[in-house]
């Protein structure tokens, strides 16, 4: 049942009243929101837009003024649904006097876990969030990022079906941020549903399937990331690095085909990718750090059951460690980028075979260089799909082959 709704909000409103029962703030205003099973849903919005209030209503910490919420088929205040929910609050609301291990012990007990099960999961989670070396220190002595990590671990102790993450990456360094995004994707692959609430747009963009943008207590826009982000008035062509001569020939060919306003840019790495490269390099040379250690593999209990069909087994085992293939695929490193305007580079839809992309590349280029009329950029069937032949999942393309194709085309 892919369309099974894990969270359903119908005309949900929350009005805070003052002492005289007059409306003071309408924090959430008749929103409709559906989170389907198995998806990563992003709830975006500036501070004070009603995101946290919505989440608190979903968790039963606040009661709706009107409207209805159904979470996992029941009302939010039903204690039984909490068995399947993991929640990471926007700040680490944890006992400062407990150490990491005791904290997880405590939350494990709240899920009726016996000692053996608790210990097994706690060991895995501490290793996963990289706190196994500092597990005996009280949480009050942890840095903010370390507190986020232990917060994340407590949210996962019950192997939740539905994970609600409120600003999961605040206070995290880019490595931690990457690990969290990595984890979200892995959890999605393992069949979990994630509701991600954030105002760090880049993070949301990288991992979510669908999202809703809130402002002033209302949902202003909602849909899949592709639907929301695709620009219908430009096309990006990505190629391996071209020398000046080839570049000019390509531009000339396109101009000959009637394309105006062509801009050519050198490919740029994202700062996040650069940062991660530097840190990885440093770690390889063995520099010590006092903070959280390297995060380990995703705890096995989170992925061992109900793994979705089609999950790449090699991905789960072979590329654990510091940077899995999945995260590499998210942090796209495009060696060369040719675009007509500031680049919009989205990850390809996961169900799109790479070969199709490649053949489409050929088609488009032949259209550009041949006599065929230029392709409608806003074609509804394939709306300006960005072309990225090299993701980490696919084998690196043979540069010579590519070059010869272009040479052929430009003759």
């Amino acid at each position: 049942m892919p369309d099974e709704l894990y969270i359903q909000c119908l005309k949900l409103s929350k009005v805070f009243k003052d002492f005289w029962m007059r409306d003071r703030v309408r924090a959430v205003d008749e929103i409709d929101l559906d989170v389907r099973r198995g998806e990563v849903f992003g709830l975006l919005g500036p501070n004070g837009s009603g995101k946290s209030t919505t989440i608190k209503m979903i968790l039963g910490l606040l009661h709706p003024s009107s409207g209805r919420i159904v979470v996992l088929g029941k009302l939010p205040r039903d204690v039984s649904i909490k068995e399947h929910i993991g929640y990471l609050p926007e700040e680490s609301y944890l006992y400062k006097f407990l150490n990491a291990r005791e904290t997880l012990e405590y939350y494990g007990k709240l899920f009726h876990q016996d000692r053996r099960k608790r210990q097994r999961r706690i060991d895995m989670l501490l290793e996963m969030v990289g706190l196994d070396k500092v597990q005996r220190r009280p949480i009050g002595e942890y840095s903010k990022g370390m507190q986020r990590r232990i917060g994340l671990a407590q949210a996962l102790i019950n192997d939740p079906k539905l994970l609600i993450l409120d600003e999961p990456t605040t206070g995290m360094d880019p490595i931690g941020t990457k690990q969290i995004k990595d984890l979200i994707v892995r959890l999605k692959d393992a069949g979990k549903t994630v509701l991600l609430c954030s105002h760090l747009l880049a993070d949301v963009e990288d991992v979510t399937d669908r999202c809703a943008i809130m402002f002033g207590g209302k949902v202003r826009r909602a849909g899949t990331i592709d639907e929301l982000l695709t620009r219908h008035d430009e096309t990006t062509i990505t190629t391996p690095a071209l020398d000046e001569q080839h570049e000019q020939r390509l531009v000339a060919a396109m101009e000959a085909a009637g394309v105006a306003d062509i801009a050519v840019h050198r490919g740029r790495q994202r700062l996040e990718a650069l940062f991660l490269d530097i840190v990885e390099e440093a770690q390889r040379t063995g520099l010590a750090t006092a903070g959280a250690g390297n995060a380990g593999q995703v705890a096995a209990f989170l992925t061992e059951a109900n793994t979705l069909e089609g999950m790449d087994a090699q991905d789960a085992d072979g590329n654990g460690g510091n940077g899995s293939a999945v995260i590499d695929s998210l942090v796209v490193e495009t060696p060369e980028l040719v675009s007509a305007s500031p680049a919009v580079s989205n990850p390809p839809p996961t169900d799109q075979p790479e070969l199709v992309a490649e053949s489409e590349t050929n088609d488009v280029l032949s259209e550009l260089t041949g006599d065929k009329p230029p392709m409608e950029p806003a074609s509804p069937s394939s709306p300006a799909k960005p072309i990225k032949p090299d993701t980490a999942d696919s084998p690196a393309p043979d540069t010579d082959t590519d070059r010869s194709v272009i040479d052929d085309l430009l003759k």
Partner: protein, 624 residues
């Protein structure tokens, strides 16, 4: 295994050290040289363990834990031995007691943690508040106060009579224990719940599969468990020190006996039966006859059938007329005119012979009319017709004579051998006012409340102390729930204030009611609720009408006070401190009553209300 072997070796060494140190301490009195040798060897071994344990295996949880215990043990026995070596046995006792209590506390805590290890939300919350109590210092401070003050008390007490020293130690130590634990319970519960809601730590917990009532119950279970450990520690300390004080020299033979018979025992008291039910009845009728003549309007009624005035029978008299007459009759019954005697029957004394050799008659004679110049009264006692060689004690004075002269208006104690009690368990006590050749003296009277009672032992001190501590535990259960309930809807300081107010009102309930009665008098006794309300309103209007505004205001204050005492349980009834200090039994019925009313009913009602309100409450706040 390579890692474990040295650990086991270390444990062996450590235990050897402890045993050696203790053995040295025990040997100390007989063979000082051997004792010192063993003590030094034990300390060397202990220190060796500590160096290994602390520095090499500090990451192993239980090694660190044993090391902590050993440090405490080491320091305690070093200081104790030093004190004894310097010829300060008092100080040595204090240090040993404090160290012993601290050790007992640590062990009790481990036991409690073990009890809370199960994978259930209630135990999870309970375990966490336990850690909070210790690590956030709030509980720890009170533990330290307890562990330091109880051992210090014997040094402070300076009564010359051993009986009073033991009794006062019991009184103060029980009082301190009850007070310290009550304050700790209120502060800990109120703080824990209020802070968690305020700092949003509760959000993380309450989004887990734990019902709100389970969260509150978990807090209560944790604090109640901690109180049990602390009471046990205090109990062991109090017992040990009581016994050690009881070993100190007594003033005289009777003083030593009094410690055993009047303090370190569990006595029940019985008042004289209103033996001659018929006699009291007759007195009542006589008095009524007189009153009917004096005030026919009050004490007679017109018969509607015949139109004649007929006396109202005693049973039909309104309560407010009947009670004073009855009180007067009883008070007369407890008065003995000069040169005459009265007999008072005590019954249900069959148990007395099982636990002791003596019954104790405790009485306070009051002289009415002429008193001899030395303010002493000649009294003469006979038990079941036997004239016995009574031994009388009064204010530290011992009078041995069949006809002692007793100081008036002071409590006196007479020991009566148990064989004077009849096989049916009754004892008829005949008291003669005056006697052969005694100076002239007026009527001797005994206060109906406590002027004459027969005390006899029904159990030992140990069980009585345990029952007393259990009674305190029940009171703490109520206070824990009070703190938790208050903090679900109030902030920490306000919740503490409310709890403090309720605590004071509950502990002083008896006194408070009396004070309110005297503060602003209006007729409230023997009226039903509706009449009382009406009475208050009428009194208030009346005071206003006559311009007595201050009195009217006092009526309001008293009403508020009475309403408050109505919703606060009467904890003063379940206070074991005076009972233990006076060597009186904490009876099973008192214990059961304490459990039923305080621990079950009041705590239960409070808990249900708190759980109901908290379950419906929005835990989060506006953050837009």
């Amino acid at each position: 295994m390579t890692r474990k072997l040295p650990i086991y070796l270390g444990i062996f060494v450590g235990l050897l050290g402890v045993v050696a140190a203790l053995a040295g301490f025990l040997l100390g009195t007989d063979q000082p040289n051997a004792a010192w040798g063993v003590i030094v060897a034990g300390n060397v071994l202990l220190s060796a363990w500590l160096v290994r344990g602390l520095w090499l295996w500090r990451d192993v949880g239980w090694v660190a834990w044993i090391s902590r215990l050993l440090i405490l043990g080491l320091v305690t026995q070093l200081l104790t031995n030093a004190a004894f070596a310097l010829g300060l046995p008092g100080l040595g006792g204090v240090v040993l007691g404090a160290g012993g209590m601290a050790l007992a506390f640590m062990l009790g805590l481990v036991l409690l943690r073990f009890c809370f290890h199960f994978g259930h939300p209630i135990f999870g919350v309970a375990r966490t508040i336990l850690d909070e109590a210790i690590r956030q210092k709030i509980g720890l401070i009170f533990v330290v106060i307890l562990v330091v003050f109880v051992p210090l008390l014997p040094l402070i007490l300076s009564d010359s009579r051993l009986e009073y020293r033991v009794s006062n130690f019991l009184r103060y130590s029980m009082f301190i224990t009850a007070l310290v634990l009550s304050l700790m319970t209120i502060l800990l519960c109120a703080r824990s719940v209020a802070r968690e809601l305020e700092s949003k730590v509760a959000f993380t917990t309450l989004t887990k599969p734990i019902a709100r009532w389970q969260y509150l119950l978990g807090k209560w279970v944790g604090v109640t468990g901690l109180n049990a450990v602390l009471l046990a520690v205090a109990g062991v300390g109090i017992y040990a020190f009581t016994m050690s004080i009881a070993q100190t020299p007594a003033q005289d033979r009777l003083d030593a006996a009094a410690v055993q018979d009047s303090v370190l025992t569990a006595r029940v008291s019985t008042r004289p039966d209103e033996v001659s039910e018929g006699q009291i009845r007759r007195s009542l009728e006589e008095r009524l006859d007189l009153l009917r003549l004096q005030e026919p309007n009050l004490y007679t009624a017109v018969d509607p059938a015949t139109g004649e005035r007929r006396p109202i029978p005693a049973e039909d008299l309104p309560e407010n007329l009947a009670s004073p007459i009855q009180a007067q009759v009883i008070s007369e019954w407890l008065s003995i005119p000069p040169r005459s005697s009265s007999t008072y029957r005590f019954s249900g004394l069959s148990d007395a012979a099982r636990y002791g050799d003596f019954l104790q008659l405790r009485f306070k004679p009051e002289a009415r009319g002429a008193t001899p110049p030395d303010r002493r009264l000649q009294l003469w006692f006979r038990a079941n017709g036997r004239e016995l060689p009574f031994i009388l004690e009064q204010g530290g004075e011992v009078l041995e004579s069949p006809m002692p002269r007793v100081a008036e208006d002071k409590f006196a104690l007479i020991r009566i051998p148990v064989d004077a009690v009849s096989p049916q368990g009754t004892l008829d006590l005949e008291i003669f006012n005056g006697g052969r050749g005694a100076p002239a003296q007026g009527t001797v009277a005994f206060n109906p409340a406590d002027g004459m009672e027969m005390l006899y032992s029904v159990g030992g001190f140990e069980v009585n102390l345990a029952k007393g501590l259990a009674l305190i535990w029940f009171r703490l259960m109520f206070l824990a729930m009070l703190g938790i309930a208050a903090a679900t809807f109030l902030g920490f300081p306000t919740a503490c204030l409310l709890c403090g107010l309720v605590f004071v009102a509950a502990v002083g309930a008896g006194y408070l009611n009396e004070s309110l009665d005297q503060y602003a008098a209006f007729a409230a006794a023997d009226l039903n609720a509706w009449q009382t309300v009406l009475g208050v309103v009428i009194t208030f209007i009346d005071k206003l009408a006559t311009g007595e505004f201050w009195d009217a205001f006092k009526v309001i204050i008293r009403t508020i006070g009475e309403l408050f005492t109505l919703v606060v349980p009467d904890l003063s009834t379940y206070n074991p401190t005076p009972l233990l200090a006076d060597g009186k039994a904490v009876t099973w019925s008192l214990l059961a009553g304490g459990f039923l009313w305080v621990a079950a009913i009041w705590t239960g009602i409070l808990g249900l209300v708190a759980a109901w309100a908290f379950g419906r409450r929005e835990v989060a706040r506006v953050t837009v």
